[in-house]
Amino acid sequence: MINTPLTIKETQDGLKSKKFSAVELVDSYLAQIKKYNSEYNIFLTVTEELAYKKAKELDQIGNFSGPLSGVVTAYKDIFLTKGVRTTAASKILDNYIPQYSATTVKKIEQAGGIIIGKTNCDAFAHGASGENSDYGATFNPWNKEYVTGGSSSGSAGAVSANMSLVSLGSDTGGSTRQPANFCNLVGLKPTYGAISRYGVIAMSSSLDTVGSLAHTVDDIEIMYDVLKGEDGLDGNVVNPKPQTLNPKPRLGIAKEYFIEGLDSEVEKMIDSVKKTYEKIGIEVVELSLPHTKYMVPVYYIVMPAEVSSNLGKFDGIRYGNDRSAFGEEAKRRIMLGSYVLSAGYYDAYFEKAMKVRTKIVGDFNEAFKTVDAIISPVSPTPAFKLGENTNDPLKMYLEDVYTTTANLVGIPALALPSTFSKSGLPIGFQLMGPRFSEYNLFELGKKYHKEIDYKPKTAF
């Protein structure tokens, strides 16, 4: 077995110089899956046959010139994959085999990527821990007593456990960034409307985005270049204009982020991030986002309302099992959504939340007049223990306090690994920028990683 490299460049250099073949790469990742998957519950389906088919094809052609040529990729099980079971980690879709693939799956395939399997997640992407999967929780490769975060639990687990080089997740309120943060990975939530969601099982249509996970910012950028742009099938997507980073960028930190419940190690890390940027000549200023405390309430009205509508199609007629197969969290969110949309409550809850959303967007428009990006924690704490938040849904919802922002405002956010806590758990932070400022965030992220001499690492 070969040691699989942790970056796309090293992988492609190895393939081009014939240090190893694509088939040997697949051998290694599959061996890792066979060794650890039953213990960590990361993959729901392993696509061994498809992986070898694609690897042999690439080895035969032999030039590895596609941007993702030879890049082994895992997909959250809400991405439709033609001919490969897609469950959304819900018993409703236990036997569902899609007839077509998501645009993003097709784009990665065309760019030379190798599908290795479909990963576990909170059912229908509802959750912040991975524990809402109808197929059982995923265990954090860095420490088995802890959650991977969610909802893209298996996508983060797969990359941090060296079972795949990169993965796709989704991010509706932090579902890519929070697991990236809990598993020592880079995670991107793109601008709403940058990447097509065609063929991704919908959760909350005004918030849903396709997320990517990898070990380095360079790799996230390569994936973004492949994934972005119009496909004519998601009407929200436009081709973004190229941007250049302000030669003297300025960053901001909101004073409202330092709230009760913010772990002291996370707080210290944010301070060290500020110092690192200052050391390399980037100014960091304090700013105010006055509606920060309303993020979670707005999110937990808008999101369930859209969930109740999107999950209406699961009636067991055209596909899947009937509605009695919904898990507990899906039922809770459908009920909550129907309530806030129902006659007599619509104005007080749904309409009100949409108006406060306008005020939140206004806070950010104001902030981006003076700064190029905002530094924020991803999660108030490092990974928590399995079972710690499961009995209190509201406590679990408060995990989303720093991540829902980017979804409500529609802006990009890049989660970056930074350090480890005293107990050995990964901690990171995120950068948020104006709409379509992805490349600026990449550049700022790379500057930070260069300064701290960041080296990608897997748990085992």
Binding site: G193, G235, Y294, R332, A353, V356, R357, T358, V361
Partner: protein, 102 residues
């Protein structure tokens, strides 16, 4: 805030096309009550004259030509492949029953 009643929960379950067991209702009622109480704190925000935001793209009326593209359409067999079909049709639950006075 008024406490959520069992009657309200049953009404919302009906709107949601969900059949809940007694133990589910017992568990869900206080949970939903607590969440609704929490999100109700939005009432303290002054939103007089504020327009609602339903999406963030700034795009309006994205239309496309009404053309059938066969590579983006499912055949009848494909469309029916994920369910029990009958004579080439989807099977739906019956909404009419036999009259009992026949």
């Amino acid at each position: 805030m008024a406490k959520l009643t069992k009657k309200q929960v049953l009404h919302v379950a009906e709107l949601s096309n969900l059949t809940l067991t007694d133990s589910e209702i017992k568990k869900l009622t206080p949970q939903l009550d607590k969440i609704i109480d929490f999100v109700a704190k939005l009432s303290e925000v002054d939103t007089d004259g504020v327009e609602p935001t339903s999406q963030t793209t700034g795009l309006t009326n994205i239309l496309k030509e009404d053309i059938v593209k066969s590579d983006e359409s499912l055949s009848q067999d494909e469309a029916l492949s994920a369910t029990d079909d009958q004579n080439g049709y989807f099977k739906v639950p019956s909404i009419l029953t036999n009259r009992s006075d026949d």
